[in-house]
Symmetry: C2
Subunit: 504 residues, 2 copies
């Protein structure tokens, strides 16, 4: 390594600077820990493709002196709750995900307008399960999984260099003793042209960042001399497609932002901005009728236009509805629910109704050993006689918790290794108890529907009381104390100073 | 406006949803306020180029019933301090800048590693001078200024649509009664190939964001199976070029981050990461010798490699020094000082030594009436017999303060209009008193040099005491209470929980 020698030489120059030079620990040879996860072949070659290697690199079968390895695909509610609960004295944990954090989705909408900060709703996996950054056999890999060899207990992944230097993505394999598929679902576009290109989803932190940047940009642009009246209205027309909880909560936050902040901070253009929520059927269809009407009343009151319509086409500056109406927009947010991802579609396993990975009452993928699926990517097989559960954080969280306990139980009973738990008693099966649904509609107003199902009778709350329940409920569910603290601080400063409008 | 009618129609659908529909204020016709800043011509045409117009739009000459207009180019230390101090009862203020906030540069380095949050060091202009968002005649325009017609008192600007919809940038004009050029300077690259493409500067918040994202990306990538030993070392080699305060402070923060956070949170790769600071001459050359040696000792102690060398070429994965040495890097930060920007070079006015806009002792640009220049873009003319002041926040801040008072004085004396103050008495000229320089070298260590000039004798502090002075000095200088509060909170949580490592 020529540059290595060079640096060593150059450090001698230090003497010109200072006598107190200590030999820095930086060039100590890599310990076994570092080498563990290179197959010999990987270690030999190298440098090719900027040091990236082809297929063969990865984590081989766990040996007798190592802990059994649980590989978790995904870092959403299900995967992270599972990693939090897993006993790292029994298992090594390897997480494969395109992001190094979990998004606290229920509060994501609040970050788009600055009510909360982005970091307050993002929890690094290393904080959820410290073992992945400290244990020799546990890892987090920034990568996509693009295939599973169920027979040989191996997953194939592709790294995500994201344009670091000249690095090209490279493949690597990970052998698993237990595999947990928690890869989540994909936003539905119903094959409508232009959605992916021009609309912004609201599922990741970078989506919220994009929305915030665009909203502030449009507010500023519309005030620049030379923008026509019509263009001004277009720039400041925020359109939300999809009347589910996410769409409604975002619309509520947006109208809050307009009424409390835009009116003072952008007084020149305040009369041009407006919000339109487009829904094909009914908004909040899963909620109790009384709550739904209350939500509608609140949204209308705060200036949100509710439009019943079906989107046919999305163009850069307008959407076209099925009845031919043009709706110009400056900001378009798309939240019409989720469906199976390409990864799930390509997996060769029996599927549940709706095309999710089919699981049994123990969250196992029955057709293959040692494989489990949790969260939005999974659904009960018809054979189980159970309905597919809704794609809710609540469901994913409960499944992750259950599976962590199940795996711990197996591990303690010596069933942690591949193919070693086939005839073990798994104890109680997974039963989901719905604790109720919540949605905020802005201005200290929220809906809480605590019925167990749409048909069931039960208490429903609305208004300030439920807003308070909603906020505190979420506050205590933010995972780390750090973020609980920051969420509280953010809410406080928003109350005292208003929302931050710096476009950074 | 067809879509306008459509929406009106569609809102009738609301009756399906709710009876309590109120007529929303959203479609009220634009008030005079909105129309004020379109020249008639601009108002007539429209829609062309997505509503953007050609040249003629803008703010015309101020009329007798309007306040005189101060146009401020830039939103850095000088411009923002000036806007903060200007009397908006006497003047309308129009700020033209490519960003809607001021960056609190002394703390920017701390945001790259998560010691502070990005928003804590960014102050929206509307918070510094509320008039620009509330007064009918005051504005902030997101735009670049690309020309000044001194004779007609007009600046020509180009909007920055930043790819909103299909908008193309458009030109507009602003007439001024007083013009304050506070456009700052540009990072120096000495014409070295590849710097702009591959290195990251450290002047704006988005630079800090890029550095943070890249650092975290490299930490994660280097842990992915298939990365060779050599590649790992390259990815985790952070190179800083330039041994001025910025480069030194960033190196210090970086080594803090490595020692306090990386070792726990990225323990698999902790032995591969290292920091190299490259400087052609001496680091912190403007500081007292004793302090400089102390800084060197501290940096070396915390594992920073100090390399004396001159960069000849910058390539995607390595830099080449003038002696032919290759230095591979994963992150390259460039801070070798600043020089005149293209805008300044193109201005047809006498220049100071070093090519800045030449000013007299009242910060006027003598050759043209009603024009002033402050901050890094300006320098005393040789004829004044004064030295050009260093490009420091301290200087810019003092000049902004002085000029605000000067303009207020003129305004109150009826000299606010164009060409109306030519023979007025301007009172005391601007005198700069250096309050000392400060630089932190990480780990609660800082240098404070409170000599008035390099040659002068004076007290110099170092170590924890000066670290404390440094921090509190800056803390109280963060402009708004909101950000003072957040900086304190950030420092607290960094102390308690460590730095945040989510890559969002």
């Amino acid at each position: 390594m020529p540059w290595f020698r060079t640096l060593i030489q150059r450090t001698t120059i230090l003497t010109q600077y200072s006598k107190s030079q200590k030999s820095t620990p930086i060039f100590t040879p890599p310990s076994l820990t570092q080498l563990l996860h290179f197959s010999t072949q990987a270690a030999e070659s190298g440098g090719s493709g900027g040091g990236a290697l082809t297929v063969t690199a990865g984590l081989g079968r766990t040996k007798g002196d190592e802990k059994p390895r649980v590989v978790v695909l995904g870092s959403g509610w299900a995967g992270c709750r599972l990693m939090k609960g897993i006993d790292t004295k029994v298992y090594d944990v390897v997480c494969v995900s395109p992001r190094n954090h979990m998004v606290f989705t229920p509060l994501l909408a609040s970050t788009c307008v600055g009510t909360l900060e982005f970091r307050s709703v993002a929890e690094p996996i290393g904080r959820i399960q410290p073992a992945i950054s400290s244990e020799p056999g546990s890892y987090f890999f920034l990568a996509d999984c693009h295939g599973v060899d169920f027979e040989n207990h191996v997953v194939t992944c592709k790294s995500l260099p994201d344009g670091a230097g000249n690095l090209e993505p490279w493949d690597f394999n990970i052998s698993y003793d237990k595999l947990v598929i928690a890869a989540g679902a994909e936003a539905l576009t119903f094959g409508i042209k232009g959605v992916k290109e021009h609309a912004i989803f609201l599922r990741e932190v970078h989506h919220a960042q994009e929305i915030r940047r665009k909203l502030l940009l449009n507010l500023m642009l519309s005030d620049v001399p030379g923008v026509s009246e019509e263009e001004k209205r277009r720039l400041l027309h925020c359109v939300v497609v999809g009347g589910g909880p996410t769409g409604v909560e975002f619309s509520g936050e947006l109208s809050d932002f307009i009424m409390n902040d835009v009116r003072q901070r952008y007084s020149h253009v305040k009369d041009y901005i407006h919000v339109t929520l487009i829904e094909a059927k009914e908004i909040l269809s899963s909620f109790d009728d009384g709550l739904r009407h209350y939500a509608v009343k609140q949204l209308v009151k705060s200036g949100v236009h509710l439009v019943r319509g079906v989107v046919k086409d999305v163009q850069p500056e307008k959407i076209v509805l099925s009845d031919g109406t043009d709706v110009p927009y400056g900001l378009l947010v798309w939240s019409t629910g989720v469906g199976p991802s390409g990864f799930v579609n390509n997996l060769d396993v029996p599927k549940s109704p709706g095309g999710r990975i089919g699981i049994d009452q123990y969250l196992r993928v029955p057709s293959v050993p040692d494989v489990f699926a949790v969260g939005d990517c999974s659904g009960f097989l018809e054979t189980t006689g159970k309905d597919v559960l809704p794609a809710l954080a609540q469901v994913a969280e409960r499944q992750g918790k259950y599976l962590a306990e199940l795996l711990n139980k197996l591990g303690h009973a010596g069933g942690g290794r591949a193919n070693s738990a086939n005839n073990m008693d798994l104890g109680k099966s997974f039963v989901y108890k719905h604790l109720g649904s919540m949605a905020t509609v802005g201005r200290y107003k929220a809906l809480v529907d605590i019925r167990e199902s749409k048909s069931a009778k039960g208490v429903s709350l609305k208004g300030f009381v439920s807003w308070f329940i909603w906020r505190s409920a979420y506050l205590t569910r933010v995972l780390s104390w750090r973020n609980r603290f920051y969420v509280a601080i953010n809410w406080l400063t928003t109350l005292v100073f208003g929302r931050d409008i710096t476009r950074i």
